[in-house]
């Protein structure tokens, strides 16, 4: 089945019942965002674990594509299990921190150290990939007026860092004065929501600060950049036409799907609302069309009736 857009189809279509069944039959690969799609914080979205295990039972390939870099993949597996997604294996999880490590090791083939602005979620993935890194622990008494720089730093990686300080910003911008030093960001999400709807600053804020300091643009690994899809494709044989990207954030998940040539589905259990999707669809700017989902569901639990046969 050709991509929905190729049929001249305006998008943003709320679907249910047999339409979902047809879609599930037509696609072999299901890519899910996590926060706001399959869970909210520490609570699974009602029906989501059954959806995932039903897809797997029906022989579908399921992947999880998340910008959340606050934990390493092996910890994510524990969370999946804890929340009732008992069939999920580490190999199915693609986080922006894991993919950043893959980029550094396999694409950039970085020879030297990486200066990291990030927490355990980022550092652990670099460790797993065998990439040497430094944070700012090496000079705990350093101040902005007098701080030591490590030698042999060939890349700066910015991710979510709740221990972010001005000193880290200053050091990173020193390293990035060398145009040969790579500048990578796990993602550029400006904020992310917690369970109760409150929000916290995201990696995007720290990346923006460093871009202003250096006058350079970061290479973004996470959604909406297509790199995470390239990671999946390099490990599994994936046909974009057979994929469905399911997410809750128009500017990351839907744009990611559009950038990779995938059909997209917005679920309304997270950040973005139907109204916003419709505004993008009806706007005059052609660039806004990339934010428009092909399909919309209230919750991924709407898939469940399709499995009853």
């Amino acid at each position: 089945m050709a991509g929905a857009r190729a049929l001249g189809f305006k998008g943003c279509r709320k679907i249910g019942g047999s339409q979902i069944r047809n879609l599930l039959n037509a696609k072999d690969f299901f890519l899910f965002d996590c926060d706001g799609v399959i869970w909210h914080g520490e609570e699974a979205i009602t029906g989501a674990p059954k959806v995932v295990s039903s897809l797997i039972k029906h022989g579908k390939n399921v992947f999880f594509v998340t910008n959340n870099c606050t934990r390493p993949r092996k910890n994510y597996v524990n969370k999946f299990y804890r929340l009732g997604f008992t069939d999920v294996m580490q190999e199915q999880i693609f986080s922006s921190s894991y993919c950043s490590a893959l980029y550094l090791r396999d694409v950039a083939k970085v020879q030297g150290k990486v200066f990291v602005i990030g927490g355990e979620g980022v550092r652990n993935e670099l460790l797993q990939a065998g990439i040497p890194f430094v944070g700012d622990e090496d000079a705990p008494d350093g101040t902005i007026f007098n701080c030591a720089l490590a030698s042999d730093v060939k890349a700066v990686l910015v991710g979510h860092d709740d221990k972010f300080t001005f000193l880290k910003l200053a050091k990173a911008s020193c390293y990035l004065r060398d145009p040969e030093c790579l500048f990578l960001a796990t993602d550029v999400d400006p904020w992310h929501p917690l369970q109760d709807g409150r929000i916290l600053p995201g990696s995007g804020c720290l990346t923006a600060a460093l871009e202003v300091a250096t006058g350079r643009k970061a290479m973004v690994i996470g959604k909406p950049s297509p790199f995470m899809f390239e990671c999946i494709s390099s490990q599994f044989r994936v046909d974009p036409a057979q994929c469905l990207m399911v997410g809750d954030r128009l500017e990351t998940d839907m744009l990611f799907g559009a950038n990779c040539g995938l059909d997209t589905m917005l679920t309304l259990t997270g950040i973005s609302q139907m109204k916003t999707a419709q505004e993008y669809r009806d706007s005059d700017h052609s660039t806004n069309q990339s934010f428009v989902p092909d399909y919309v569901v209230d919750t991924i639990a709407d898939f469940l009736p399709a499995f009853e046969d």
Binding site: L194, P201, A213
Partner: protein, 306 residues
């Protein structure tokens, strides 16, 4: 209509230009000093201008010192200047909040002690200055206790900037009625001793990104700093000269306010930069082309001494 611009100021043109102005506004970093070293000849230039009956003011985006701290620094370096001639963004932000925003309430401050002092001087209380290390977990950060009297988030240079401060600012700014004010958007801050670190612009950008809104900025090139000087000293803008080293702040401020502008080459911008703006033909960029330029303000000395 070709207005002659970006003219090398020398010879009789210098005296002609000086005679056409009554007031001179100087940027500081890269114009009259670099760090803690005066630009050679700069103290004499300032002192002679005053002797010749010109009014002299100092207009800087640097928010790390109060007017008094600047005046003390100037005295040490041989500049004959008084506190009320200095307009830094710590002072001007306090003035802005008091007289333009007419703030009734407190400020959550990401900034220096100098900013705190200038706010207190105009009777505005603040919370937030100093180190603010993270503790607890995500849900705690989202639920940090907020002072209900805070009505504005103000951002200046802060060496203690951290994720926790960024978070607090975001929580306050979730209220759409809470103001967001920044001192300036400069990307680098010059330090004593000649080094430079990331500037306030970086910190402000982080806060704007989290809150998904733009700050009101007080510093150059916004005209507010000129308005501050003019309202206190009754200036005639047609007889006013702005001297600076940055095209995108100093010269643009001058253009925006209808002042004559002089670029000095002892700081950030070059003649090539100015010519590129001039040749672009882009209306937005033409404001960054200075009327005149000199290698250093010391070149004004012969005309002042004669």
């Amino acid at each position: 209509m070709a207005v002659s611009k970006c003219t090398r100021l020398n010879g009789p043109l210098i005296k002609q230009m000086l005679d056409s102005v009554d007031s001179v506004l100087f940027d500081c970093d890269g114009v009259i000093w670099r760090g803690d070293q005066a630009i050679p000849g700069a103290p004499d230039v300032i002192n002679l201008l005053k002797k010749n009956g010109k009014k002299v003011f100092f207009v800087t985006n640097n928010s790390t010192k109060t007017r008094k701290m600047y005046a003390d620094k100037m005295a040490l370096m041989g500049f004959n200047a008084t506190e009320d001639e200095v307009f830094g963004t710590a002072y001007c932000s306090a003035m802005y909040l008091k007289h333009v925003s007419r703030l009734q309430g407190k400020v959550y401050l990401i900034g220096s002690n100098a900013m705190r002092q200038e706010l207190e001087k105009v009777g505005i209380q603040q919370t937030g200055v100093g180190p603010d290390p993270i503790s607890g977990v995500q849900i705690d950060w989202a639920n940090v206790p907020l002072d209900p009297e805070v009505k504005a988030v103000v951002v200046g240079f802060d060496e203690h900037f951290s994720y926790m401060k960024l978070n607090r600012a975001l929580q306050y700014l979730n209220n759409p009625d809470c103001l967001l004010v920044g001192t300036n958007t400069d990307t680098r801050l010059p330090l004593e001793g000649g080094k430079a670190v990331p500037g306030t612009g970086c910190i402000l950008k982080a806060v704007e990104t989290a809150a998904q809104r733009q700050a009101q900025t007080v510093g150059k090139p916004n005209h507010f700093m000129y308005d501050c000087v003019a309202s206190q000293f009754g200036l005639d803008r047609t007889r006013c000269l702005m001297v600076g080293d940055r095209l995108d702040t100093d010269i643009l401020l001058g253009s925006n306010c209808g002042l004559k502008t002089l670029l000095t080459l002892t700081g950030v911008s070059t003649v090539a930069d100015a010519e590129a703006h001039q040749e672009s033909g882009c209306p937005k960029r033409l404001g960054m082309v200075p009327d005149y330029y000199v290698e250093s303000i010391a070149e004004l000395l012969p005309a002042l001494q004669g």
